[in-house]
Amino acid sequence: MARIVLTNVQVTVGAVDLSDHVASVTLSTTYDVLETTAFAGGNVPAAAKTRIAGLADNSVTLEFHQDFAAGEVEQTIYPLLGTTAAVAIKPNTSAPIAADNPAYTFDALISEWTPLNGAVGELATASVTWPVSGPVTKDVTP
């Protein structure tokens, strides 16, 4: 199995491809862990705790390079603040969707934005973590 070096990840927000202004991406999924350990009730006493998965909780973290030019990052993200927007992420922009290049799509709640961030001489960036509303769909169908 080939390891993958991320150089060409595709990130679209609200159907707009912002890949060339995104420096890092993290898509996380965690499940609530619900403990189900109980007394033995006549059976063999439990030797260890038992658990089941509860609801999934997904989020995406993106680091943008800020750009105030027409049609760029600020003009795309700022109007979406407080709304949900479709986000799609694919490891390799150039390759078609496949098992080794899955596309993840979901609705993210654009809950935060940092229009201006950075010190003197630094690149203006905006690092955000948006919670996902609903499930994450993984598509491997070409």
Partner: protein, 76 residues
Amino acid sequence: MEYTVTSSKKVCGKINGEKLTQDDILSAGGSVEHLLAAGHIKEAVKTPKAKEEPQVLKDEPEAFVFNNFNYEQGDK
């Protein structure tokens, strides 16, 4: 309704100058209002179709056929 991509970014996988429909945008999870406001797309200008003139059938007149008919038939 058709729209033209005016952005330097790909919109629904289309590049600047390419056209897309409202269905393309909605199926990609986008919002027409948002894309218009952010300057990513504009309404496509419909070029009026050239008015088709009713086709006039210009049938060639039937060629006059001179029947060499002898009107002076009869008894002489």
